[in-house]
Symmetry: C2
Subunit: 456 residues, 2 copies
């Protein structure tokens, strides 16, 4: 490990240069206009893996390609599969970025760029640690498989089929994912629970075309008002979702978990201040950490209707639409939620309005066993890389394929987040701490050692 | 009048060519990008008036210019002032136009273009009738003043000051405005009542920037949900506006008016079918004509928030905004409504959200005296031009400056609409019947004769 550590130290600038190169590729998976850049992201990654002797494949899918590579098998040692993604969220709204979204810029020790933390920077820590073992020891103490996809931000549509068709190729004892955050700066964490998600787009149509609001206003239902009423009707004054059966399967927090969360160093007024709000808001009866980590939610993600340009246009719009989503917790079933939603929207739909509901990706929430030897090995590796034992926390976001991995490969999933909560992963000015980038590489390098030492 | 009639007959093609030329100028007053085209519209109109010997002025304002011209005074005869506008609504959404918005195209006897009916085509009927008198009789039997503005679609911001400062120049006995519709094809109408309007934009701000809906969802108020709840909270299940005092000053319909409206040939199921809706909707307790003409309304004109592009983005948006408006009836006061709105929105504003309310143009509703000799003269002129006596109706739209004219110049306002209700004045595929265009010119030519015969 000494040679590995020295190598990591010597390669800091090169690792950063590599990261910046990947960040310059606008691999936005949601927008077809960027399809060529997503391809370019995959090609860059495969070339990079080959540059230190790891045969890498770019595997086409019906959507964006996967990148796959593996180190040689090590009999008697476990097999670790690293999952990450090289695709990124859309960068909108562009005018709120201090420096351009795809021009990585270092300020105060952080690199700012779309994908810095989610997930190019975090994903590369494992690539770099593998490189370090190969370039020094010449081999890894266990077999590491790297599976990096290009569709995480659009629901990993084609990954599930790939997993199902490649169970032997991908067989492993644990899956390593770095796409979450530490609890706070200097407080590394292992995330043992994730929320799920189910995402929808509701399109309402009233009159067959936009109408003059003076000539027709008051005589025909306005789709934008109908949309407002229907969305408002999905959540009550206590912040509880009104979909029938929505809370039926929600796994309640244990008293131990509530106590553990309450003991974490979390300051609600400071949190509100960081977000720029004068009051927090959410489901009645729960703390902010509980609301974020272990309670389901309803969020409207986008609204569109009528005239949105400069000035005033007196139009009664023909259409109104919303994108919205529910964060789910164990053991809510996305399909059951979708069925309840349809029932509730049908109740809320006013006369004279037609609706069309589109369902995007969905994934259930997940909780990992806290006593897994792989989780405990990861905790030791993090202590090596970060000089502090991690806390065990949950996370409000979704990594939809975590469930898929756990089910398809029957493996424990280790969520080792190197990011920070203010990294703005889906917002303007996304960033990643370069110090955490290097600590993550060191922790990853130690992880291969710790996992190899598990009595398999 | 015979020579005038013959002249009108001979000039049909030329009048259409002139109209198409004006329609090709995209004089969109709401959008600063079109400011040069608005100027061009004014210049075209002034040049056109000069082409048949009428000295015309382009009068600059702090916004878009006015065009003014007048025929010589006729002692003993009344003075008529024609008001119209050469500016047009924005053409969005552009992809719903069958032929381009600013390329006038004739189909089935209608000319399709933005501004065809509102108000370039209707306004030009009076320009053409003045031309006909001048080119045949050599003079008009009364003085006609033409005041054509470029800011009607943005609230006529600078007209009021101009009227106040030019009362002598504009002094008249009646104001003639053709910016409304006939009751139906073949059923010409004089509009004796108009609704007013008050228009707002509400901007809500939650967190200081867009957030990841997984990491933060459920712990902070979502501005798009807040907007939905606030808009939904402005109108109740009976379609009644919940602003305090909103209905206090509403002039109720008389039994005679309700009977008159009920007697008009109006088919509610056919109307619903024309609009493409399977049910009509509006304030409980009123017929569709009553709702459109004589009851106040609430309409959302536009919604904007979060991610509106392709695919799904899991964002908790920092901002959400709506453009919305109320149609007002006599004797509601826009200022009082605005004050009540602010009070109601303050009640509806959730914790953690800041609001900013912008007030656009407003105008009260108006009703004209049915026994005015000018109105009766207009009815005779319409009978000449359209071969049928007009019905007396109201109109749901606003011509905000009608009130201003009535007050500033102490004159009756004659609303002589040559359009049809399906002309799509603020929608894609705006049109104007060329037959009605020529009937309007004939009626206008007769109007100068009928008005001159009034015992002044």
């Amino acid at each position: 490990m000494d040679d590995v550590r020295k190598y990591l130290q010597s390669q800091r600038e090169q690792f950063e240069a590599d990261l910046f190169e990947l960040l310059r590729i606008p691999s936005v998976s949601a927008d077809p206009a960027f399809a060529g850049d997503v391809q370019r992201g995959a090609a860059w990654l495969a070339d990079h893996l080959r540059s230190f002797g790891l045969p890498a494949e770019v595997i086409p899918t019906a959507g964006h390609p996967l990148v796959y590579a593996e180190t040689p098998p090590v009999p008697g040692a476990p097999v670790a599969l690293v999952y990450g993604h090289y695709d990124v969220q859309p960068p909108d709204p562009l005018d709120e970025w201090t420096s351009p979204a795809f021009e990585p810029t270092v300020r105060d020790g952080n690199v700012y760029a779309r994908g810095a933390t989610d997930d190019k920077g975090q994903m590369l820590t494992h690539v770099n640690s593998v490189q370090a073992w190969l370039e020094t020891v010449g081999k890894l103490p266990l077999q590491v498989k790297l599976l990096i996809e290009g569709e995480e931000e659009v629901g990993s549509e084609h990954l599930e089929a790939f997993l199902a068709e490649n169970k032997d190729k991908l067989a492993c004892d644990c899956v390593v994912v770095s796409d979450t955050a530490q609890f706070a700066p200097g407080v590394p964490a292992i995330t043992y629970g994730l929320r799920g998600i189910t995402y929808f787009e509701l399109k309402l149509t009233g009159p067959s075309q936009d109408l003059h609001s003076g000539v027709f206003g008051g005589s025909v239902a306005n789709p934008a008002i109908a949309l407002a009423k229907m969305l408002a009707g999905l959540i009550d004054a206590d912040g509880r979702v009104t979909i029938p059966g929505f809370y039926d399967d929600v796994a309640p927090l244990t008293d131990a978990e509530r106590a553990e969360f309450a003991a974490l160093p979390f300051d609600e007024p400071k949190f509100a201040q960081q977000l720029g709000v004068d009051a927090l808001d959410g489901e009645a009866g729960f703390t902010t950490l509980e609301r974020r980590w272990a309670r389901p939610t309803f969020d409207v993600n986008g609204l569109t209707s009528g005239y949105q340009g400069e000035g005033a246009k007196t139009v009664l719009p023909a259409r109104a639409s919303a994108k919205f989503s529910f964060r789910l917790v164990p053991n809510q079933d996305p399909a059951k939620i979708a069925a309840g939603l349809k029932q509730r929207l049908a109740e809320l739909l006013p006369a004279g309005i037609k609706m069309d509901l589109r369902e995007f990706h969905g994934a259930p929430g997940v909780v990992m066993p806290l006593d897994s030897p792989y989780l405990q090995a990861a905790a030791r590796a993090i202590e090596t890389g970060f000089d502090r034992r991690p806390v065990f926390i949950r996370e409000g976001g979704s990594i939809p394929i975590v469930n898929t991995f756990a089910e398809a490969l029957d493996a424990d999933v280790l969520l080792l987040g190197w990011g920070q909560n203010d990294d703005n992963p889906h917002s303007p000015n996304e960033k990643f701490s370069l110090a955490d980038f290097h600590r993550g590489i060191a922790a990853s390098a130690a992880l291969w050692h710790e996992l190899a030492a598990i009595d398999n």
